[in-house]
Each structure stands twice: as C-alpha cells, then as structure tokens.
C-alpha cells in the first residue's frame, strides 16, 4: 500500500465526517455565493474536525469572501476548502532530514518530548526503523525512567529494528542517562541518537524542570544538540494542544512536531490550528501501528484527505 493511500485511509473516517457534514449543507449548493447560515455550517464542520473556533471561522470567512466561478457544488466547495487548508499547512511541511558531512561523523541527537500517552516511545521505535532503512547507524536511549516497563517497551522496538538501546535502572536520573547515552553512541560511532523521554503534563513545573535539566546535560556534551527537539502530539488531542506547544516550546526549544494516531476516527484538524499559531514544522504523521506507518507530512495531501478529496 502506498503511503499516500495509507494516509488517505487513515484520514478517511475523519474526512467522511467533514465531507458528510459538508454535503449536508444543502442550502449552499446551486448558488453562486454562500449565505450566512451555510458559513456557520461549514464552520461547525471544521470545529468538529478540531480546527478550533478561530481558525474555523477564519476559513469559513475566507470561503464567504471568495469569488466563485459559477455555481457552488459540493466538489468545488471541498476543493476550495482544501486550498485554504493547504495554504495554511504548506509553510509547516518539512520532512525530517539532516546532512552529515563525510568524514566528520558527529552524532545527530533527536529528543522526543510530549505529554503522557502521546506515542513517544512508539515514535522512537518507528524513527529508528526509518533511519536504519536509510543505512544510518542508530542508537536509542530510554530516558523515560518513570513509567513502568517503558524501558522494556523501547527495548522491544530495539530488538525489532535491530537497534541498540541504552537504558538505566527504573527511577534513575534521566539526565545522567542522556549524558551516558551520548558517550556510548559516540563510542559506537552512531549517526543518530534518539532519546525517548518520560511523558509529562506541561503544567507540572517539576517535571518540566527535569526536562530542562536533560537538555542542559545534553548541551554539555554537544552544544548544538539536541539537533531535533520534537514534540509528539496525539492526533485526538483537542484545544489543549496549544497549551502543550507553548510550554514545551519554552522548555525544550522545539524544532518540529510529530502527529500520531491519525489512523482512527480522530481528525487531526488541530494540526491546522497549530500551524496557524506556531508555524513549527510538522515532520511526520503516524497512520498505523507498523514501523513504516510513520510518514512524511504533506500539506496538500493532508488538506485534501481532511475534506474528503482524493489527494491525487
């Protein structure tokens, strides 16, 4: 199955919802402009997809102001919607790539942060698989010292992807582990080190301080690391994602996002709101449980899938 198809299938349920509520706007069609009641309905369809009220009304307003060529049909409306969404999403479409100069094999450090249960450990495993497949030498560090069996879970991914996992005792110091992981990864001549951290709610000051400490310790080893500081967001999350972004941005100096669990009924529309608000790159989306289900994010396809159009 092509990844495009997978994303579409993954988003199908959500787009079904958006498009079915769009088709419901019967008043709308057969006219050459959109009336206020229809605008409200479009806005609601977008709110239902978790775009949030302000972005939803912004887009609906944009549709109202638009000059339509001829009559408004379900397809032309969807196409227009997708266009608006793509405009918002295009600036954040940026695959996770990095260059390593030949000869100078310095370690590229990727730090994964986020709230509990957003899918950090799984994302770490999938990322490892992706880099291994690119022929890169990957090491993972299990710096979630809190959750029971988090270390075992990452080790499971290590075994599956044939990646070395550096771990410590449960309840130990995550910063110390990160420090040691960099040493060991360098000693191993690794290209990439993926550090999985414990889930933490962004309003818990002491946990955020722990994260800040991990980063300080990493910087002691490699001043420009972590090269990628990625927040992993659950695709089912609602408006609290904005608060999450703000807090992690502040503590972890985020460089990008990964949106997970887009294979269910979640619409992932929050991505649009976040793109508007933060403009931070969306590197990847998780659309399934298998390692290859972590896909590059593409604005055009995501926007089209969201409103129920085939991306092609």
């Amino acid at each position: 199955m092509s990844w495009l198809k997978k994303l579409t299938t993954g988003l199908k349920k959500s787009s079904d919802k958006v498009s079915s509520s769009l088709s419901g706007i019967s008043l709308l069609f057969g006219k050459d402009k959109i009336d206020a009641a229809s605008i409200e309905e479009i806005e609601e369809a977008l709110i239902l997809a978790d775009l949030g009220v302000s972005v939803a009304s912004e887009i609906a307003e944009g549709l109202r102001a638009r000059k339509w060529q001829g009559e408004v049909t379900p397809d032309s409306l969807r196409e227009a919607l997708a266009e608006h969404l793509t405009d918002i999403l295009l600036p954040v479409e940026k695959p996770l790539t990095f260059q390593q100069a030949d000869g100078e094999r310095d370690l590229h450090v990727i730090l994964l942060v986020g709230v509990n249960g957003s899918g950090k450990t799984t994302t770490a495993g999938k990322l490892a698989a992706r880099f291994q497949a690119q022929g890169r030498h990957v090491v993972m560090a299990a710096a979630d010292m809190f959750r029971a069996a988090a270390i075992e879970q990452l080790s499971g991914w290590g075994a599956r992807t044939d990646t070395k996992v550096i771990s410590g005792e449960r309840g130990g110091d995550a910063a110390a582990l990160a420090f040691r992981a960099i040493d060991e990864a360098r000693a191993d001549n690794a290209d990439v080190l993926i550090i999985d951290t414990a889930g933490r709610l962004q309003n818990r000051a002491e946990l955020m301080e722990e994260l800040a400490k991990i980063i300080r310790v990493i910087k002691k080893q490699i001043p420009e690391a972590p090269h990628d500081s990625l927040i992993v967001l659950d695709g089912t999350v609602g408006q609290n994602a904005i608060a999450q972004m703000k807090a992690f941005q502040q503590t972890a100096d985020l460089t990008g996002m990964v949106i997970t669990k887009l294979d269910g009924t979640a619409k992932g529309g929050i991505v649009v709101a976040l793109a508007r608000e933060f403009g931070l790159p969306v590197h990847m989306v998780g659309v399934g449980e298998a390692a290859e289900d972590l896909q590059d994010f593409t604005a055009h396809d995501f926007a089209h899938a969201l409103v129920g159009l085939s991306p092609e």
Partner: protein, 503 residues
C-alpha cells in the same frame, strides 16, 4: 479564553441594563458566547448544541436575582446545567456482587488504561479493603504485560501469570478461574488499546466481554481529547456497553470538556479521575468540581449563590416583621420550622451567637430528631389553605382529617396546634420594640450562615438583648423547661435539632 467569556457576557448585558427577568434576546446573545467557550473547552459540538438548547429553555424568563447582573445569572444557570449534565452526583463502582467482581478496562491507545488499572487496584485495596487481582490481556503493545506486572508489584496486588500461547479470551477465562479459586474480591482486566474502526479488535473486545461477564466496563479516556471524544465513546458504548468512564490526566490544564461529551454520549457517569502519576492519584469524580473546571467561573457562581442566600435573609426579615405585628399564622410557623432546620436547627443557630454555649447545650439535651420536624411539616401541609390562615377553624373532625392525611395521630396534631398557639402568643407579647429587634436579629442575622448582620441594620444582637428576650418569654408564661424554649414543652420543639449540622 474564559476570562474573555466573562468580559464578553458583561458586554452583552451592559447595554441592556438591569432587568427583572432574562429576555429571549439577552439569553441568545449570552449563549452564543457560552457556546464558543464550551467549544474551546473541547466539549464536542453536538453536545454543546443540545446543552445550549436545554439551557436556553431554562434561562429565558428566569428571574435575575437582586444584586446580580444578568450575565452572572446566566453563568450560574450554565454552571448548574453542566453539573446536571455530568450526572449530578458522584457514582461509585458496582462492587457488591458475588466475588470476584470483574472490571474490564477499555479504550484507545495511550489513554492510560494500564496505569489506571494499577491505580484502581491501589484504590480498591486501600479504600474498599478489597483483595485485587490484575490481568493483562494486552498482547499488542510491547511490554504492556511487564508494565502491569510492575504496577501489581507496587500496588501489592495479585497478577495473573503470563503466557505466550493464550488468546485474550483464554486469558480471561483463566483469570476468572484463578481469581475465584484464590479468593480475590475484584479482578481487573486490562485490555489492549484499540482503534474504534478496527473491526477485528472491537470484535475481540466483545468476545472478552462475553467471557468475562464484567460488572463494570470502564472506558478509560484522556481528558486532553478533542472533538473525537464523542466518536470514541459512542463506538465503545455500542460495541460493549460502557458502564462508567475514567478520565485520565486531569492533573493537566485541559478544561476537560471531553468529560461532558462522553457522559452525554454514553449516558454513563464519569466514575473516576486520574489526577497524577503516583499510584494513589485516582479520585472519585466530582461533577460540581468538573463543571467549575469546564466553565472556570467559580467566583461568579459563588456570588450568585450568596445573592440567593441574601434573598432568604430578606424573607426572614419579612417574617420577623409579621411576627412583631402579631400576624403569625400556620404558614409562618411552617416557614420557621423549615428555616430553622436549614440552619442546622435552633441549636446550630445559637451556636453562631456569641456567649450562648450553655444555652446550646441545654437545647441539645432537649434534642429532637429530624423525623419529628418532618412530621410537623407533614401536619401543616395536610391543612387546607384556609385552615393555615385561620387556625381557629381546626375542630375535632378537621384535626382527624389532618392526622389521617399526614400519617400522624390526632394527639400529634393537637400538640402542634398548642405549640403554634404558644408561639403566636409569644409573638404578640413581643410586639414591644426591643423584643422585635432581638427577634429580628435572631432570625435575620442567622440566615445565610454568616452572622455578618448587615441585614440587621444594627449589628449583632448582644448577649444582653438575648437574655432580655429570654426573660420576656419566661415572664410571658412560656414553658421554659429547657432554658431558652419558645416553642412549648415536651417533644414538639420544631427545629430544635440535635447537634448543629454543618451547612
């Protein structure tokens, strides 16, 4: 965002000025803002819509309390509506079955099922003194079983030994048998996280349910969830019939609108909430607190409640006036019984006055139970409106009818009438200025819980005033066996409750 709502509502109403009742247009403009606020709190759109519709009906024509602005009144109505929609009060787990009680945990990936299973074990062992066994049916997520085993160890709960060859249904059967044989009170089954569109996995959940015949099916959901909460809740409820919801990560700063969405969609109460990472961080769900969190306007709600109390205070004042002028009928008597009861009995009322500790003890000694107060209330309610105003009408046959109507005896009715007469006589005698003031002070100042006395016009009643009142009553021939005893002798002291209750 919610501070914005407060401001916006204020703006909506400021142009309208003060009014006695909320008009349709007041309400509609206010509810538009409420709708936005709820959406920002992640309450799902369909739920917001039906909620707004029901609130609209309640709010239109609602009286705006004195000293409260219309916007504040609307917020109070919304707040109460939220509590109602969240199920009103806490609902406990159903555990009183022949052991082992089986609890099935289900939910999406990463919602917090396994951690919650561990917390629930601690909760049931510590708070309910149950012997708990945990069993993992999660064969999908790497290390899920290790996680549950580690949690069981920390919780000092039993754990079903793992096996690599069994299916979730086989594991369920083995767990049931093991729990029964080893004498566990509760068996908690932790299942794999699953997507609601994954038909095979949902079918597996149905099979597990059939094998386990659980007493509770708990849907574990993340309080950070957005609009998808409805879809998720609906799908799990349709597949296996959810009996309760556990909301996790409520220690985060999400408004938790998902609670409302899910409770409304499934018709099931939220039973427990996860409020931290430690194993004891699981609490019973409190609808009132949740409503406060979603709306985040506790100060406004408290203000309106206080205003409502002030109105009762005015009512008390009005009655004191009536008494002072010698107009005192059965309706007033009933009001008084009820008010005294509400204040925690006369004992409670006196407890709020300084220097009356001894008196209070005496009253407590003469203690009357609540049932008696209820009976008195029933007797008065069995009277016709006319009888309540003209007590003289109460002849033998009427008293017989009242006794039958209230489920009491004629003697009870007689006793109540006697008390009423004593009281009325006292009221007349108290027509003097100081007596009326003291009475007013007693009734007025005691209302609303705070002896603040702004309603009394003249500060607290002094101990002197009260003892004066007492002497007056004794002089007037009031039977005073228990010291301060304006209501007559014997058992029928209306509202003279036992120990003061907390309000």
């Amino acid at each position: 965002m919610f501070d914005n709502l407060k401001d916006k509502l204020q703006t909506v109403f400021s142009s309208l000025g003060k009014r006695g009742a909320l008009s349709e247009s007041d309400v509609d403009s206010a509810l538009r803002e409420v709708r936005l606020a709820l959406l920002e709190a992640d309450v799902a759109l369909p739920v917001v819509k039906s909620f707004i519709a029901s609130i609209r009906d309640k709010a239109i024509g609602a009286t705006v309390l004195k000293s409260v602005r219309p916007d504040q009144q609307v917020i109070k109505i919304v707040h109460d509506g939220l509590i109602e929609m969240l199920g009103g009060e806490a609902s406990p787990l159903r555990l009183d079955v022949t052991p082992p009680a089986v609890i099935l945990m289900a939910g999406l990936q990463g919602s917090g099922k396994t951690t919650t299973a561990g917390k629930l074990a601690v909760h049931l062992q510590a708070k309910h003194k149950k012997k708990v066994m945990l069993a993992s049916l999660d064969l999908s997520r790497p290390a899920a079983r290790e996680q549950l085993r580690a949690l069981a160890e920390q919780a000092e709960a039993g754990i079903l030994p793992e096996s690599d060859t069994e299916t979730p249904v086989q594991l369920t059967k083995r767990a049931m048998q093991a729990a029964r044989l080893q004498g566990f009170d509760v068996l908690i089954l932790d299942t794999a996280g699953r997507l609601t569109i994954d038909e095979a996995m949902m079918a597996e959940l149905r099979d597990i349910k059939a094998a386990a015949t659980p007493d509770e099916i708990l849907l574990v959901a993340d309080s950070l969830t957005g609009q998808d909460a409805v879809t998720t809740a609906d799908a799990f409820n349709n597949a296996v019939g959810v009996s309760g919801i556990v909301l996790t990560r409520l220690d985060g700063d999400a408004r938790g609108g998902a609670a409302l969405s899910m409770a409304q969609t499934t018709g099931c109460p939220v039973k427990l909430v996860g409020v931290g990472e430690k194993l004891d961080a699981l609490e019973a769900f409190d609808p009132e607190r949740m409503a406060g969190r979603i709306l985040d306007m506790g100060d406004v709600v408290a203000l309106v409640e206080k205003a409502a109390e002030a109105i009762e205070e005015e009512e008390a004042m009005r009655m004191a006036e009536r008494m002072a002028s010698g107009k005192f009928d059965m309706n007033d008597f009933l009001t008084q019984i009820r008010q005294l009861q509400k204040m925690g009995g006369l004992g409670g009322l006196l407890g709020m006055l300084p220097g009356l500790g001894k008196l209070q003890k005496q009253i407590a000694a003469a203690g009357v139970d609540d049932a008696m107060v209820k009976r008195q209330e029933a007797i008065i309610l069995s009277m016709t409106k006319k009888e309540r105003v003209q007590v003289g009408l109460l002849n033998a046959s009427r008293r017989k009818r009242i006794a039958a109507g209230s489920g009491t005896s004629v003697q009870d009715v007689n006793k109540l009438v006697k008390q009423y007469q004593d009281m009325a006589r006292m009221m007349k005698k108290m027509g003097t200025k100081s007596g009326a003031a003291a009475m007013k002070a007693m009734l007025g100042g005691g209302m609303g819980g705070g002896m603040g006395g702004n309603s009394m016009g003249g500060g607290m009643p002094s101990a002197e005033q009260l003892s004066q009142l007492q002497q007056q009553m004794q002089k007037s021939g009031m039977p005073g066996g228990g010291g301060f005893n304006p209501f007559g002798k014997g058992g029928g002291l209306p509202g003279l409750g036992g120990p003061p209750r907390k309000k």
